[in-house]
Every structure is written in C-alpha cells, then in structure tokens.
C-alpha cells in the first residue's frame, strides 16, 4: 500500500470523540487497558491544548512533506492529521502555512513524527501541534508516499479513522470501533478517581484507599524502624 491516496474513510462516533477529548490522554490510556500511547518523544509545540478527532493519516519520506499537501484534501472538519515517516527524521515538514491551510479546512490539530517549524507563529496561532522535534530544516516534494493507509506514528499503529487524543501528556490512539466503549470506561474511571482524590486531599494514604497493605506483605516487603545510619 505504497503510493496511494484514499479519499474517503470511516470516522469515529462524534459523541465518543467529545468525551475522549474531555477525559484527556492519561485517563483514556488507562481506560483502554494501558494501551495506545505514543512514545514520549511526541511533545506539544506549545503547552495547553487538548484535542481529539478522527485520524487522517499521511506517510511521508525523510526530508519530504509532499504527502501532507495531498492529505489536506482529505481532511474534514474535526479531523486530526497524523503524519508518519518511513524512517527517523526530524526535518521541518510542517509550518505556519500548512497550519493556516488546515485551520481553514477545519482540522483540529496535527501529530507529526517529523519536525515542526515556525514554532513561534504556530504557538501564537494556538494551532494544536505535537511533533518529535522543532526544526526549520526545509523539505522537498519529490517522493510519493501514501494517504489514509495504516501507519506507525510515535511507535504506535494508527489506522485512518482511529481517534487521536492529544494533550500536554502526549498522544494516545483509540481504535475507531472501540471509541464509545473506551469513552464510557474513561468516564467510570474519572468518577472513581474523583472519590480517591477527595480522600487523598484529606491526608488519607493511597496504601489504605487502594487496600495495598496486604499485597505488599504477601510480596515480602519488610518494614524496618530505622534510622539505619
């Protein structure tokens, strides 16, 4: 599946996307059994954004951002563009002009396994952007890749239409068909955490709230009075 651009994709349930966006990366990742998280090198260009949307995917080659232009035509309002690269590369494949274009097209943000340029302008525009590096290194438009094919981005497999959730903690991928199930599981987790939070705020220990003492004893943890020195 090299050299193809797929025009139409299935998108995820809109309500589920809204819930996943509100929950954020850490909760969603836990809610789906601690899976789907991209590697921690994928960082926001500016801090404070939180987005979710269906993935439109582009597979580029090192030093080449041609397929991002092709992908722009496939993006619909609410989508998140996910850019993978066929080898490790930090060249500046995405900058303020592409951000301007994608904003005009309704794109919610970009996850980029290459470098981002125009960091100041993109921060000022508040265009949500996660990348592996910030680099002004220019790219060419010389080699054909693909759009809307399955890719690996940030160490995680992404299929077109999967839900991408991204915030200051990084980026997590939710399979399209599981979006509603995970959104629901995340809301339950959120409620449970709220209960723990209020007890922790009063100074109760997690050891007691989560009932860990018995397990620690069984696994052989030994308490010693100390001090040892």
């Amino acid at each position: 599946m090299n050299g193809i651009a797929v025009r139409n994709i299935h998108r995820a349930d809109h309500g589920a996307i809204e819930t996943l966006e509100r929950l954020g990366v850490a909760t969603v990742h836990e809610a789906q059994g601690r899976t789907g998280l991209m590697l921690p090198y994928m960082r926001p260009v500016w801090r404070g954004a939180r987005i979710a949307g269906s993935a439109v995917t582009a597979l580029c080659h090192p030093g080449d951002n041609w397929m991002i232009h092709v992908a722009c035509e496939m993006v619909k309002k609410g989508d998140v563009l996910v850019v993978a690269c066929s080898s490790e590369n930090s060249d500046g494949a995405f900058g303020e002009l592409l951000a301007t274009s994608l904003r005009a097209l309704g794109c919610k943000g970009v996850v980029l396994d290459m470098g981002a340029r125009d960091a100041a302008e993109i921060s000022e525009m508040k265009f949500p952007l996660w990348s592996r590096a910030i680099s002004a290194k220019g790219t060419v438009k010389a080699t054909v890749g693909s759009v809307n094919v399955p890719v690996v981005c940030g160490g995680m497999a992404v299929k077109p239409g999967d839900v991408i959730v991204a915030d200051d903690d990084g980026v997590v991928v939710v399979e399209r068909k599981r979006a509603q199930e995970i959104a629901k599981a995340g809301e339950e987790r959120e409620k449970k955490e709220a209960g723990s939070r209020s007890r922790l705020q009063k100074g109760e220990l997690g050891l007691d709230i989560y009932g860990m003492r018995k397990g620690l004893e069984e696994k052989g943890l030994k308490y010693v009075d100390g001090p040892l020195d």
Copy 2:
C-alpha cells in the same frame, strides 16, 4: 537492601535547608566543589519552582510505581520525595493524584527518575516536580522495591535525609551532615558573585576581574591582530 521500607530517617538541619533553597542549584553545586549535580535529563515539569528538603527515597522497578505509595507514608512536612528506578524507564509513575496526596502530607516536591503524567494538572497545581520524561504510560503495582535506602537517581547517589535542592537548572544533592557547611560556603560564594556582578555590569571584563590574563599567557594563548580572512 531490597524489599525493605525504613520508617524513620535522620533529616537535615532546617536552617541549612532554608539557606540552600534560597541559594539555588547552581550556587549550591559550586559551593560543594562542583559535586552532587544530577544529570541534565532531570528537568522540571513546569518552570519557576525552587525547593529544598530532606530526601525520602523510593526504589521502583520499570513500569511499576508501587513503592511511591509506600513512600508516601514515610514523608513528613518539608520532605522531598526522590524516586529511583532499577533500570532506565520513562513510564508515567507519578501523576496528579499522587501529587494531591503528597501535597496533603506536606511534601515540598518530587524528583522522579521515571516519567510524569498529568503534566497540565500538576503545572496548574504548581506542585514542584522534576522528571526524566513526561509520559502518560500507566504503571502497575506488582513488584516490591524499597523505601528509604540509598539509591542512584539522575546519575547521583542519594541517601535518605540528604538535602535535595531543585530549580530550573536541575537538581543537586547535598550530604545531610555537610548541609550547614555547604549552606555557609554558598552564602560566601553569593557575596563574592555580587561583587563581580556589579563590576561586570559596568563593562569590566572577567579577564581583569578574575585576573586571568597571566594564566592564559602561561598556558600559551597567543593573541593575533586579525582579521585572518
């Protein structure tokens, strides 16, 4: 000393801790003969905090944060929790719920040789946190480590009760018994630097203020008029 949790530790002198906190990392590091600094990968999750306190130590295993929960019980008001890991790991062992708990317990901040999650929430809480990475990767509670044993964190040996000083420059460790001596040496260095600063502000050269010209000549530096091209 694996699998033990030590309840009581000696803590460092309170006045020395206050002075070391005011002096900050760079001055304290110089004052103790350029030793004790953790590796530069240890970075604040948000910029602007400066703390010092006695170390409570936890030794975790990769992907597992169980011992942080055990360590919470040992933390007293004013302590800094230092989390080491038995191998290199950036999983998100510490997040907003643990920060809430530690704040309630009086902990001044955390130095974490693993990953931090809930970066936005922790920044908003202004809970002081230094870590090797930001990652939402969830952790398990499956393997016993130790609490309040000597550890290596950020490439530096830390014993329970040592003073941890942390700010935007990173993290430095001061041996508990030397805390007062180093605090005093730091204050002297501070005074000396104030004198240099006012002369530098007037445009005097460090070469003259620090009397470097003779040493440079002895070591063979040759001045050439130039330009060479």
Copy 3:
C-alpha cells in the same frame, strides 16, 4: 589554529543583519537554498527571542569555559557569541554572570554548544541564549582553546563574522559575504508566502496553489475512493 585569539574580524553588513533578523530562521534557511541550519538540539533557553548578528567564535574544551572569558573582550555591540566545544559536552559553561557581562558589552545573544546554567535568571533578564542543554554543572578554566577561528557549532561550520540568525525554530548561519544576497532572497520569499497565505486562509488547497497535481500523477500517486475497511 589552536591556542590563538584573533582580535579583529570582518563583520557583516548592518542592513543585511537587520533584514535577516526580521525574516527569522525558517525563511532565511529556505532563502539560502536550505543550508546553514544548526541541528535541532540547539534550543532557546526561553521562548520568544529573535536575533541576528555577526559571529564572534570561541572554541572551548569539555568542562572548561575559559575561552568564553577571552571572547568577551572581542565582542562588539551587535555581535552574537558562538561557543563550540572540542567534544560533546553539556556542562554549564554559561550563566547569569557572563550574560550580565555580555549585555554590558552590547552582545545580542549567545549560541552555545554546551550547557546553560542560571536558566531562571537568564529568562528573567531576557538575555537571548540557545544551548544544547540546561545544566548547572560547573566548569574549570584550565585549558586553552581559541577565539575567532572557524568552528563547528551545532553541526554547522561557522566562521567569525558570519551572520547568526536565531529564534524559536533554532539557529541558522549565513556566510558573511552572502548576507545581502540572502537578505534580498528572503524578502522575496516572504512576499511570495504572503500570497500563498491569503489563498490558504480562504480554504484553497496547496495542491492547487503550488500546482502539484501533475507532478504527483507523474510520480505515480494513485487515488482510491475508499473507505478500505
């Protein structure tokens, strides 16, 4: 050319420097044919500065910042100090006292292939500083290097008097003799980008604005209707 300090250098055209500063790193890099960019590990200590100036160069050794002091004497108003190191090293070779000195001497900023210390103070002073790391690790003054010789900094060759342009996107080097030519090319590029921007803002596709469709077809990109799953 080891162990020499060159007092006088040719500097770049003042008007060209002003233009290059206004254009910024990404545009200048493109304008000179996508060359001259330092590696992306060279990052600002604080976000928001944009500077350009003639390079005064210093070649230090790992853990040693002596030559920065020697270089201070060579800096004139408007210069940018470029510090290279003879091997990879992140020690804190530059801090607030040196920043104070260089500001008094009219230096516009520093590009440092070593570590920066006093990150909080330098950010507050708004002294423009790019470095490979933030580290409080103290340095010695023991080994002679050179000042105002050609160096490699951030993976890029820099000669004394070359123009250094630096902003949130990183650092780019323009050869002194080409400064005016590149400034002019940059202004032309800027105008062209303004035209593209206004069309992109209206939702036109880059594919059409840049006329890419024919090239993509020639290179064999195949459109598929989809969805494929």
Copy 4:
C-alpha cells in the same frame, strides 16, 4: 486485545519464506517498495546469521518477560518469535535458557524489542537473535500481556504470520499474503543487480549504467572544473 493468547495462526508460504531468507533484508526491503524495515537500533547479538520465518508475536511490559514463556507454547518449527514491549525498555528479557527452549522447539530465531542477556552463550550457540540492547537486567513474571496479536516492534507493525527476514542489516517484515509476490520481485531485483555489479566491477560508472546524467542536468546540477581552492 490485551491479555489474550491466540493458539493458532496462519503461516506464510514455505517456499516464499525460503526465497526471502536467501535474498536477505536489503533486497527484500527494496523489493516491496522500500517498506517494512524495523528501525536501525534493532541489531544482531552476533554477526553472520540470516533467517526468515513466520512471526509468532508476544507483547510484554517493561521489566517483565512472562509472555515470552507463553509464546513458546505457540511456536512451531520454522517460526520466528517477535517480542514487542508496551514502552521503551532494554531489560534483559531473553537469555540462554529461553534460547535453549526455543531451539528445542524448532524456532529459527528471535527479534526482541527489549534487551538480550547471556550474549556470550547465545553467540556460541549461534542462536539467531536481534535486540535493541544487550543487558543482564533481570525481569519479573508479574503482568499479563498478549501472544499472537498485532504488535509494533522496532517501529514496524507486525501481525502474527507475517514473514520476518533478519540478517546483519537488521530486520524487515513482509505481510503474509504478499510473501510470494515479494519473493518473486526480490528475485528479479537480484538478477538486475547482478548485471549492474559486473559492469561496476569493470569500472563503469553508476551514472552511466543507471542513466542518471539527464536527470541530474534537469534538476540543475552544475559541473565546475575546479580546483576551487
């Protein structure tokens, strides 16, 4: 798909596997359009092996190799075991005892996105093994992962039954259903390369053999007589 172990998988065509093994990584990667290659950190523990086989996959967690034991039961003669990890981890998840077990079970080799231990013994056994690191760090058996589910290993998506080809150049993945097509394309490429090789050995230039001169001229390469200095 977390916490499951799939007993039976489809395997790739035996003849195709034999051909792909003979062709080796570089040829196979080119033959399938320069796709499928794992990242270059995936290196052989010893040099000189070349294998191909159907993938049995295991998804482990950091510091934990339990699922490798589960996967052993699924391995059939001629398979290659592919071990992924839910986060970046170099702990020594695989050593001589597991190699002994897998050899007895007919496994052709292992591709491990964790660390390998017993490097000397495994080299002496000539058990084919690729890993991201060599490390004796012991692992636990505490957390359940999965066996024979799709994984990402070395930055590349692998499904159970895909063909894994590995040699001194690294590791390439061929989709199971395309194995015969790629084997054939590789053989054609091999023949073509043999022709080029004999001409290159006689001193003919690639520029002429591959007819590159016209393209270079069109893209604007300018020849200059020189020397320039």
Copy 5:
C-alpha cells in the same frame, strides 16, 4: 570528598571473587536480587572477556584523565579499575599505554565511564576493558579529582573494594561485605538453572517447568483458539 587519593582499601574475599568471576554477570545479578547492574551503555571494547576483582575507583572530570594515573599507584594484583566522570563524557581517557601500565601492575581490567582509545591495540592485547564509547579524543591532565572514594559509574554506586564482575553482558557490582553470600547464592542458582536447562533441551515448556499456568490464569490471561484473521 573531592581532591583526595586514598592509598589503602579493604579488598573482597579472594575465593568469593573467583566464584563470582566464574558465574558471570547475569547469574551474579540475579543472585543478589536483581541489583547492582550498570546501565547497558557500558560495553566491552572486545568480546569474550570475563573478569572479577576488587574495585579501585577514580573520579575524573570531562576531557581529563589525570586521576587514572594517580589510581595506577593504588592498584594491586587482581584489582579492577573503575573510572567515573563528574559529567557525561565520551573522550578517550584510556588507551594502550595505560593498559600496558595496568597489565604490568597486575590489574585485571578496567570499567570506564568515558571513552576508550586504541581499540585495535587493546583488543589485540586482550586487555579487558568496558567503556561507554570508543573515541580517540585526547584528554588533558589539568583538574584534580579523587581516587578510592565512592563513585557512581554506569548509573551504579561503587565503593572501593566492592567486587566488579564484567563480561559480554555488561558489568555488575557486588558489595564487598556481601561477596561470599552472593557467590554462594549464585552457585545455587547455577545448579537450579542446570536442571531447567536439561528439561528445556528436551522440549519441555518453561510454563510447566516453572509452574506458571496457574498464575497466568489468576492474572486473567485468556486463551483463544484462533486464527483471528
């Protein structure tokens, strides 16, 4: 403890050292509860050595190997020299002349948290050497460090007289006072592994030999018949 050279140290039990050497890194590391292993960047300059001995420690500064010369005077027959550095540095602090000197003095090998030079000559001499890098970068003798003080090397705390065990798997540290206990535990582990090995060679599964099936079921692993695709 900066700037001191300690002449005499306690050394570990000779019989224990012999046993630990025979057992090798992986077994010793497991025998002491999976502790003491240096980070995996510490690699042998040539493959095939296995040594153990009491540690003589040197603390150097980046780009400076002076303290290695001081340490040579402290080395006795059978010792292993452990060289730490006050910051991350890969300069070539150790080469063939120092290897010649240490061999003459009876030193069994060197563990170097800096770079090694003369890789070909040292390999030919078969002088056992582990380092973080191979680099010919020359070092100076300008700054005083310490000899025979506690250090952190390869991410692990080492005290003078601790036993260093090193082979192709890396380097492990055994506390001096625990050397005999760990040697004994290692021999027991070795016997147990021999039993497992012979069963694995016959094709028995680790799942059965180690009795893992019940634990897997309790932790919720589900078997599925498959194939799933």
Copy 6:
C-alpha cells in the same frame, strides 16, 4: 555552494598520507593538537581496517544518495569518499554495489554520515567503511546536492583534498596543507610513546615517567592513608 559538482581538487602529499595511515587515528589526532576528530558515533562497519587518503566530498540529503553516484566520477586511486548529509539521517545510502564500484575505481574507503547497508557483504569484501548506523533503508535519487565542496561530516569540517585517517578508533581529518607537518609531528610522538611504553611495561608509574607528582600537589591533591571504611 549548493547544486555543484567540482571535477578537480588538490590532493595531499602522497608520502604524508602513507605516514598518517601507518600512525593511525589516535596518534594523528594528538599530533595535531587534539583537533580534527569526528564524533564517536562514526564507527567502522567491520573491525580491523586502517586507511588514509585525500577526501572527495559529497553532500547528500536525508533519504537520498544521488550525490554518491556523482562523486564516484571524481574519485581517483587512493581517495577516500566522505559523505555528509544536510540533516541527521541513518538511511542506508551506501551498499555493496557502490562499494564494488568504488573499489574498481581505486577508492580506499568511505566515511558516511548516513547509514550503511549490506553489512555482511561489505565486511566480507573488506571494503573499509565507517558510518553512523547500519540500515537497509533504501534511498531515492531525487534531490541534487553537491560534490567536492566543504562539508561537515561527523561533527567535523572537511574540505576536498584534506587527509582522512580512519581506523577502529574512528576518523580524524588533517588539513591538506598541514599533512606533512602533522605526519612529522606524529612520528615524533610515536618515538616518545615507545620510550614510555617500555618503562610502563617494567612497572614504572606514569606519575613518575611523566613527572606528574609536583603538579598534583600544586593543584591540591591530598593523599590519605585509608582504608576509610
């Protein structure tokens, strides 16, 4: 100087090249005042080669090896091809076919700031090759770079005609005009080292041979009898 290919270059003195080759990297690097060494990531694909020759340079772009083909036409008997890249890239730009071509043309070896493929075949051919990575990732021929212009390779500036010396310790660059001077300095250093070696073999200490004791005392090193624990 982008997009040009320079046909003729000045080459270094043949006798000097022969001497520099015999001396090897570590000695040459020291003889020219500890300058010119490439970064330690530049490693031989196989161990045991030692070469020197005049540099023919090629500047490629990430994922593109077109300029290597252009450079082949410029290579004369005894040259060393130096391949730089406009950004960090480990794609497999050089393999067995290019090695075959360059061997036929008399090239002594290649220094490659990209990835090498066909590692097994190149090792068997004993074609001398240093690279930043081993990777089979295929490259395109789409973007024009330059041949025989000044480049930065492995963090070091290289001009066409400079002498490249490479062996198991890495790669060092000697300016063409200084080749004879450095060759002579290297031979003197070699003689001096021979004297030291024979004294070290007899067990004399470097401290005494190099007369270091007075300097150590002046810099404040204090000897302590010990043991301290």
